[in-house]
Symmetry: C2
Subunit: 286 residues, 2 copies
């Protein structure tokens, strides 16, 4: 995948930087350090830090200046996955093809590893080029009005009838908010005034990813996904295919990506990678 999208230059910086930013495996309490490293350093697409770097470049700046801010957003993403997978929430045993954090380290350490990653993200971001603007962006994107609020709405919507508007809100908060945040902190890291435009691009891109996730969950095998397929439907969770059917869901994803692409027009730097990511969001198979 990365070859087609032009992300290699970013990814070669992101993986080692994430490893550097985490506590060493043998640092006390070592089960906590290990759980944090296990969750963050498992194979992932690293879309959020790559987005931050691509947005810095699209703003006309040096993408490396957005490396740490992007890594902070990735760390928050990993924290949210650990907590979402917990028995009390989504009760998932597999994530990215490997046992979830609580299956390996136990529930107590998994909850605390999520908390420690959340704190680490603010520590990284506070020391990054995105500075205080980035901290406020991340706090808003993750809290009551962002990721955590969206996850709560999703939990409360299980086995409930919800409207199309409610479903869109859940997806915007659960996925869109953090994509938008990654894009905005990328722009902030190079002092660009385009943070607003790029935040909107990220919001739409995240929404498209989540719609396509829903579609793939409905249509793919467990082997392709690295998690139990059809698990959303089995639990009667709110999904786009459940509400609109598969065909209309695909149209909605496509319209969302058109809105994302429109945000890139006025930018001063190269936007090829951001455009590739938008097309990839639609066409991916896992």
């Amino acid at each position: 995948m990365t070859g087609e999208l032009g992300l290699q230059t970013y990814l070669k910086w992101i993986e080692p930087r994430l490893a550097d930013l985490l506590p060493e495996e043998d640092e006390a309490p070592s089960p906590l350090a290990q759980a944090m490293r296990y969750s963050v350093l498992s194979p992932g697409k690293r879309l959020r830090p790559a987005l931050a770097m691509a947005c810095a470049e699209a703003s006309g700046g040096d993408p490396l200046r957005a490396l740490d801010a992007g890594c902070a957003v990735e760390v928050v993403h990993c924290f949210s996955l650990i907590h979402d997978d917990l028995p009390a929430i989504d009760n998932d045993d597999l994530r990215r093809g490997r046992p979830t954090c609580h299956k390996v380290y136990g529930e107590a350490v998994a909850i605390l590893a999520g908390d420690a990653l959340f704190a680490l993200a603010f520590q990284i971001l506070g020391a990054s080029n995105a500075g205080l603007d980035g901290v406020l962006e991340l706090a808003r994107a993750t809290g009551f009005h962002g990721v955590v609020g969206g996850e709560t709405m999703d939990v409360l919507a299980e086995n409930q009838e919800i409207t199309a508007e409610e479903l869109r809100t859940i997806h915007q908060k659960k996925t869109g908010a953090l994509f938008a945040c990654a894009c905005a902190v990328g722009a902030q890291s190079v002092g660009s005034p385009a943070a607003g435009l790029l935040r909107e691009y990220g919001q739409q891109l995240g929404l498209a990813f989540q719609i396509v996730d829903d579609i793939l969950n409905e249509t793919s095998s467990a082997e392709q996904l690295g998690k139990a397929a059809g698990s959303d439907r089995d639990r009667k969770k709110a999904t786009y295919p459940a509400l609109y059917g598969l065909d209309r869901s695909r149209e909605l994803a496509s319209e969302t990506i058109d809105r994302a692409l429109a945000c890139l027009e006025p930018l001063p730097g190269p936007t090829g990678v951001l455009k590739n990511l938008a097309y990839f969001a639609l066409q991916r198979s896992k």
Copy 2:
């Protein structure tokens, strides 16, 4: 208690400000807003925000400038209590004399309410007079090297023999780190160079509070404590009385407070409240 300590002036600002900073009860998702408000607005001593305000004043500044930074630390404290009380961690049913968050709102919402409070704390602090220094102070105090690391060590120490040094480390991280943070952000809120001294005062004060907590857990009834008495001992948790006996634990608390008081000598502003808090830490009965 507050009458004797001289905290009334601070407390009358803290309670309404906390209520203002939280999402409204009917804001969606309302069970999340309710769980956040339930946990933060339950009767508490508000020692951390009071400390922040008293430290601003002891630095020669206006204590009101530290109100928001102090409230951010209180919000983090409440988040850590919610997660510590969870069935997978300490499994406590009572907190401050009331059912714990997960007993009222369920485990999923309790985990997410903790997460949302953590994000809110950084949002408040980032917008406060403590600014970026405060954000970095809080991130360090709460993460792997602070509260969350300490709680993990505590969990891992259950039913294990630990050394006196390990026990002191646990207490410094679990309680000392956040007291120290409250004091430092108080000084930072008024641009004082005394943040280092006050951080050390807070560290020692927090340690004393935790030693006395251990002693009270050993000697008090459930009615006095508002939580199950002797619960630490029943689970063979690492405590000062278990390691040193009650008399030596009391001496250690007293020596700790002497070190806290020594930090106050060079300060330019009034330190009466900080001294009262130090004496109170030793003499309280619940």
